[in-house]
C-alpha cells in the first residue's frame, strides 16, 4: 500500500510541476492574444488595456499562477480569449475524443502485440519470428505522418471509410447501435494509424522480454512437468516477463498520445490536437496550458495504472518492507 501511496504522491508532484513549468514558459512568449488584436484598427487601445486587466495579463507571474490555480480548483483552468469561455469545459469535450482514440488504440495495440510477440518468441529464429521481425521493421521505418497520410489516401480513393470528423450528418437521429457503428467507422482510420505506428516497438519488446524468460530454468522445469504449452506461455512466462512490459505500457500511452496529436490533425478528428494547434496559432495561452496539462494528466494516470498493474502482478513489490 505504501508503494501505491508513494506513486500517487509522485503523480501529484508531476502534475503540479508541469503546470508551473507551463506557466514559466508563458513568460517566454513575445506576443499574446491581444497583441494580435492591436493590429485591428477597430479596437480602441483603451479597450485593449481594459481587456488585458480583465484577463490579468498585466499582473506578475506568481499572482497569475495563483489565480489560475484558484480557477482550476473551480473547474475552469483559466479563460479562453478566443472562445470567451472557461477553458476546462472546452477542453473536456476534446479530451474525451482524444481519450476515446488513444484508449481504443492502446488496448488494440496491446491485444495484437502480446500474442504476436509471444508467438515470435516461442518460434525464435524460425519462419514466423522472421516474418514478424521483417514486417515490424518495415512499420518501424515508416514515419507516422507517412502512415497516416497513406491511410488517408487509401480511404479517399476506395471510399471504404469516411474521412474527417467523428460522426456523419444526422448522427443524433440514429439508433444507438447505428450510432456506435457510425462512430466505429469514423474512428477506424485514426485508430489504425495509431496502432500501426505503436505496434512494431511493442511486438519487439514483448518478444525480447518473453524470449528471455523462456530460457529460465523454472520454465524448463515446468515444461518437464508436462504443463500444456498455452498455459506455460500465458500463465507462467507472461507474468514473469511482466515487469519490463508494464513500464513499456506506460511508455506506450505517452507515445500514442503524442502520435494522436498529429494523427488527429491529419484525420480531422475533433480531439485535443487540432484544438491545441488552433490555440497556438491564436496565442490563446490558457488553452495551450490546459491542453498540455490534460495530456500530462493522461500520461500520469496511465503510468499510475501501470504501477497498480505491476503491484497486482509482481509479488516482490507487495511484500516490500520499509527497510528494503
Amino acid at each position: 500500500m505504501r508503494y501505491l501511496l508513494r506513486r500517487l504522491g509522485h503523480a501529484l508532484f508531476l502534475v503540479f510541476g508541469v503546470s508551473i513549468l507551463a506557466f514559466l514558459f508563458t513568460t517566454l512568449a513575445p506576443g499574446n492574444y491581444f497583441d494580435e488584436m492591436r493590429l485591428n484598427p477597430q479596437i480602441a487601445p483603451e479597450t485593449l488595456v481594459a481587456l488585458r486587466a480583465q484577463y490579468q495579463l498585466d499582473r506578475p507571474l506568481p499572482l497569475r499562477y495563483a489565480s489560475w490555480l484558484n480557477s482550476a480548483m473551480h473547474g475552469q483552468m483559466g479563460f479562453s480569449f478566443a472562445y470567451n469561455a472557461p477553458v476546462a469545459p472546452l477542453l473536456l469535450v476534446r479530451a474525451r475524443n482524444t481519450l476515446l482514440l488513444t484508449i481504443t488504440a492502446t488496448l488494440l495495440a496491446w491485444a495484437i502485440a502480446l500474442p504476436l510477440g509471444i508467438w515470435s518468441a516461442e518460434r525464435l529464429g524460425r519462419l514466423p519470428d522472421r516474418l514478424i521481425g521483417w514486417s515490424t521493421a518495415i512499420l518501424l521505418v515508416l514515419p507516422d505522418l507517412a502512415l497516416a497520410l497513406g491511410l488517408l489516401v487509401l480511404a479517399v480513393r476506395t471510399h471504404w471509410f469516411p474521412t474527417g470528423g467523428m460522426a456523419s450528418v444526422g448522427f443524433e437521429s440514429l439508433s444507438s447501435f447505428n450510432k456506435f457503428r457510425d462512430l466505429a467507422r469514423h474512428m477506424t482510420l485514426s485508430v489504425a494509424a495509431l496502432v500501426l505506428s505503436a505496434l512494431p516497438l511493442l511486438v519487439r519488446h514483448v518478444r525480447a522480454a518473453v524470449a528471455e524468460v523462456l530460457d529460465a530454468p523454472f520454465l524448463l522445469a515446468a515444461e518437464g512437468h508436462g504443463i500444456p504449452r498455452f498455459t506455460l506461455l500465458y500463465r507462467y512466462a507472461l507474468p514473469a516477463a511482466a515487469n519490463p512490459l508494464v513500464s513499456l505500457f506506460g511508455f506506450s500511452i505517452g507515445a500514442l498520445l503524442s502520435g494522436s496529436l498529429l494523427i488527429e490533425v491529419v484525420m480531422s478528428w475533433p480531439g485535443l490536437g487540432p484544438f491545441l494547434l488552433e490555440a497556438i496559432l491564436a496565442r490563446d495561452i490558457y488553452v495551450v496550458i490546459g491542453g498540455v496539462l490534460f495530456s500530462t494528466i493522461f500520461l500520469v494516470v496511465g503510468n499510475f495504472l501501470a504501477d497498480i498493474l505491476l503491484y497486482w502482478i509482481d509479488p516482490r513489490i507487495r511484500t516490500e518492507t520499509p527497510s528494503a
Binding site: L261, V288, V292
Partner: protein, 351 residues
C-alpha cells in the same frame, strides 16, 4: 557479422545517403524555388528508351506534358518533341555545402525543365524540392540531436558526479520533462515563441525547440553510467594520484558514456527529423518557399491535392531509407551496449 562490422556497414550506408542530400544542388535538376506557373501539378514524367514508333534510343528521353484539351489538370505526353536526358548539363546556379558555386547538374535536358517526380501547385520540381528539403530536415535533426546530447551529457554527468542537491534538482526537472508526451511538449514550447519569422530564424527556432524537448532521457541515461563509473576502482585510483574532478570526468568517466550517447544519437536523429516534419507540416516550422520534408507534405492537407495528385505523397517516403539506416545503426550499437561488460565477462573467464 561482428558488431564492429555491422556498425561500420550502417555508417557507410548513412554516409552515402547523407552525401546524396549534401550534394542536392548537383543532383537536383533545377532550383527548388523556381516556379513555372504554366505547369502546376504536373505528374511525374516517364523516362523512355523507345520512341513512339518503337525505335530504341541509346540516350533516354522524356516527353513534355501538355494539358489535355477540355481539362485543367489532365496532362498527356506530347510525343512529337522528345527531350533527351543529358548528363552534366549547365542549369540553375547553386551552392554546394553553402559556398562552392556551381552550375553543372548531374542530368537535365538543355534549357527545358523535366519533372521526374512531378511538380507542385506552383510548377516547382518535386525531385529538387525533395533533395533540398532533406538538407533542412536532416540538418534540423542532426543539430537538434547534437544539442540535446550535449545538454544531456552536461546535465547527466553533473547530476551523477556531484550528486546531492544538484542531482536531486536536475533529476526532478528531468522527470517533469519526461512526464509530458513529447509531441505535446514540442507544441507547448513552440507555442510560446514567435509564430511568423523568416525561414532562417524559423529553422534555428525549431532546432532549439526540438533540442530543448528531449534532453531528459539522455541525461538520465548518462547519469546512470556516470554514477556507476565514478565508483569504479580505476577512477578512485586516479583520484589517489591527485586527479582533479575535471580530469576524472574527461579521461575516465565520460568515455564510459560513449556507447550510450552514440546509441541515443542513432535513436534521436530520426525522431527529431520526424519532429521537424510534424512542426513544418502543421505550419509551425520552416515556412514556404524554403522546402523541408514537413512542409512538402503540408499540401496534402488540401482535400483536392490528396485525391488528385498522388505524386505529392512521394516526399513522405523520402526519409524511409534514412530511418532504415538509423534503425540499423541503433540496433547494431545496442547489440552489446557496454564494451566494458564484454571485457568483464572475458576477464571473469580468465580469472
Amino acid at each position: 557479422m561482428s558488431r564492429r562490422r555491422k556498425v561500420g556497414f550502417w555508417l557507410v550506408v548513412l554516409g552515402v545517403l547523407h552525401g546524396i542530400i549534401l550534394c542536392a544542388g548537383f543532383l537536383a535538376p533545377c532550383d527548388p524555388v523556381r516556379q513555372d506557373r504554366k505547369s502546376p501539378y504536373l505528374p511525374p514524367m516517364r523516362v523512355h528508351f523507345l520512341d513512339a514508333r518503337g525505335h530504341p534510343h541509346v540516350r533516354p528521353f522524356v516527353y513534355p506534358l501538355q494539358l489535355r484539351p477540355g481539362t485543367f489538370d489532365q496532362y498527356v505526353e506530347d510525343t512529337s518533341q522528345p527531350r533527351p536526358l543529358k548528363f552534366f548539363v549547365p542549369g540553375d546556379p547553386y551552392r554546394l555545402l553553402g559556398f562552392f558555386r556551381g552550375r553543372v547538374h548531374l542530368f537535365g535536358a538543355d534549357n527545358e525543365r523535366i519533372y521526374l517526380l512531378g511538380s507542385d501547385g506552383f510548377g516547382r520540381d518535386q525531385l529538387s524540392r525533395l533533395l533540398f528539403g532533406g538538407q533542412i530536415s536532416l540538418l534540423a535533426g542532426l543539430l537538434g540531436a547534437g544539442f540535446t546530447l550535449l545538454v544531456g551529457l552536461c546535465v547527466g554527468s553533473a547530476a551523477g558526479y556531484f550528486g546531492g542537491w544538484c542531482d536531486e534538482l536536475l533529476m526532478r526537472l528531468a522527470e517533469l520533462f519526461l512526464a509530458l508526451p513529447w509531441l505535446y511538449l514540442l507544441f507547448a514550447i513552440r507555442a510560446f515563441l514567435p509564430l511568423s519569422v523568416n525561414p532562417l530564424h524559423a529553422f534555428f527556432l525549431i532546432v532549439a525547440v526540438i533540442a530543448a524537448v528531449g534532453w531528459a532521457r539522455p541525461a538520465r541515461l548518462v547519469r546512470g553510467v556516470v554514477l556507476s563509473a565514478k565508483e569504479r576502482d580505476f577512477v578512485r585510483a586516479a583520484r589517489g594520484f591527485g586527479a582533479s574532478n575535471f580530469y576524472l570526468l574527461r579521461r575516465h568517466i565520460l568515455p564510459e558514456t560513449s556507447s550510450v550517447v552514440l546509441t541515443q544519437a542513432a535513436i534521436l536523429i530520426p525522431q527529431y527529423v520526424l519532429a521537424e516534419m510534424a512542426l513544418s507540416f502543421l505550419g509551425l516550422g520552416v515556412p514556404e518557399p524554403v522546402p523541408s520534408w514537413g512542409n512538402l507534405l503540408s499540401n496534402l492537407q488540401q482535400y483536392s491535392v490528396l485525391v488528385s495528385y498522388w505524386w505529392m505523397y512521394l516526399p513522405a517516403l523520402g526519409m524511409v531509407p534514412f530511418f532504415l539506416g538509423y534503425l540499423g545503426l541503433a540496433s547494431a550499437l545496442q547489440e552489446s551496449p557496454d564494451p566494458y561488460k564484454i571485457e568483464r565477462r572475458s576477464l571473469g573467464s580468465l580469472a
